[in-house]
């Protein structure tokens, strides 16, 4: 008897942040210290929930409230890109959730006490789906930098949080998109937890003139790669 499971490839550790990262103080009491079990993939890991706009409505323009009134303050931008797997195949119908601070660097969140104004016209949450070629796109405002208490005079670079689902729960990912040329990037302990320079820089969006809409907003391109599947199905030899 054998079960054929197309599992997902394991990432190169240098391209992923370690759980224990002393420069990022919050990891101290939260990273596991016991050995982690390498979980072989089963149907639980290779299947995923199905998200549809019918049940999970899109919010593709974060700059306007639902009633069409009230426009967010700040520099309007267009963000778009493709969601692919490691083999370059588009991830279709993927749900992409984003959240971010407002233009002043303040989150619409009770836990954020930064002395910067809230924007009543900016909620800071979006949700879009990829098309058949893996493309997604949304409109927002450029988030501001904000201070945090990780170390003396610590500031987070401008960033937008991303949450993605692929075709298998093993592809589940939350990450952050950064902006090119941000002087805070070399100083940020979270961004710099990724030791591989190329992998780190892939978290930085590129300015994109094609996504830019004349007389209206700059465009930024941010592609995301989810894990690819093993090329060959692995045979299981359990006989018990």
């Amino acid at each position: 008897m054998s079960d054929v499971v197309h599992g997902y490839r394991r990432p190169d550790p240098a391209t992923q942040p370690p759980l224990n990262s002393p420069a990022y103080g919050s990891t101290r009491a939260r990273h596991p210290q016991q050995p982690v079990l390498e979980l072989p993939h089963t149907l639980t890991e290779t299947s995923s929930p199905i998200f549809t706009p019918a049940r999970y409505p899109e919010t593709a323009d974060l700059t306007v409230l639902e009633n069409g009134k009230g426009h967010a303050m700040g520099e309007r931008i267009i963000v778009g890109g493709r969601v692919l797997d490691e083999d370059g195949r588009p991830i279709r119908k993927a749900m992409v959730e984003v959240w971010q601070a407002n233009a002043a660097g303040r989150y619409n969140h009770e836990g954020d006490t930064h002395d910067a104004p809230l924007d009543p016209n900016f909620r800071g949450m979006g949700r879009v789906f990829t098309d058949d070629d893996g493309w997604y796109r949304y409109v927002t405002i450029r988030p501001g930098a904000y201070p945090w208490r990780n170390h003396q005079n610590a500031w987070r670079p401008n960033h937008i949080h991303y949450s993605l689902f692929g075709a298998g729960f093993a592809q589940r990912m939350i990450t952050q998109m950064y902006f090119p040329g941000d002087p805070l990037l070399p100083l940020d302990p979270i961004f710099n937890t990724v030791s591989d320079e190329k992998a780190r820089n892939r978290l930085v969006a590129n300015f994109d003139l094609e996504l830019t809409k004349p007389e209206w907003a700059l465009g930024y391109r941010f592609d995301i790669v989810l894990r690819g599947r093993e090329a060959t199905p692995m045979e299981d030899n359990h006989h018990d």
């Binding site: 990022y24 990273h31 210290q33 790669v225 299981d236």
Partner: protein
């Protein structure tokens, strides 16, 4: 179940994007109703469905409650099936998301999953015990933590290939206990004494 020999990426492959922490403000994507996977099925639950709650408290290495975590669950339906990606989007899906509260507690309402074949073409007796995949996202977690919840008293627990791979002394960190009224409880410890068995998925 595959042998856990990692397969190398073929030449020219892209590299998966790096994870980053969900941070402390992820609640902008918290929708409390998502903690109830049965919300779309009022009055029409799948046949044989047993409604359950899954609760637990998340603590860190100092024993303090983790009050800003996002917990996600993913599990099969009561007959052990997962939805197909191009299948019926109206079918039951065992996906939920829940924020921990000020005591570090989470609570899901869902349906008890059935036993799940290891792979899509399982012909033999390699069945996994009923289980729930758990993912924990939070400030201080640069990648989410993954584990599984099993149910105490399930006969298949004795032969489940994942449980069997866990040292017996730590297996209890994966097995939820009945909490009455269809409730099951499993506490999650990120670090330290009684640390949950976390899994590299």
């Amino acid at each position: 179940m595959t042998d856990a020999t990692p397969e190398l990426a073929p030449p020219g492959a892209l590299a998966a994007s790096a994870h980053q922490t969900a941070g402390p403000y992820w609640h902008l994507v918290d929708f409390p109703e998502w903690a109830d996977t049965t919300r779309h099925f009022a009055g029409s639950l799948p046949e044989g469905a047993e409604r359950i709650t899954l609760t637990g408290t998340v603590t860190d290495g100092t024993g303090a409650p983790v009050t800003d975590a996002m917990i996600e669950i993913w599990h099969a339906d009561p007959s052990g099936h997962y939805p197909e990606q191009d299948g019926d989007p109206a079918a039951f899906q065992g996906y939920g998301r829940c924020a921990t509260d000020k005591q570090g507690r989470f609570r899901f309402v869902t349906l008890k999953p059935g036993p799940v074949p290891v792979g899509p073409h399982a012909k033999g007796n390699v069945m996994q015990a009923p289980h729930v995949a758990l993912a924990v996202f939070a400030r201080g977690l640069l990648q989410h933590l993954s584990t599984r919840l099993y149910f105490e008293g399930e006969p298949l627990n004795a032969t489940d290939p994942v449980l069997k791979a866990v040292p017996e002394t730590r297996r209890g960190t994966l097995i939820a206990k009945p909490a009455g009224n269809g409730g099951w409880n499993l506490d999650l410890r990120l670090q330290g004494e009684g640390e949950t068995v976390w899994m590299a998925v």
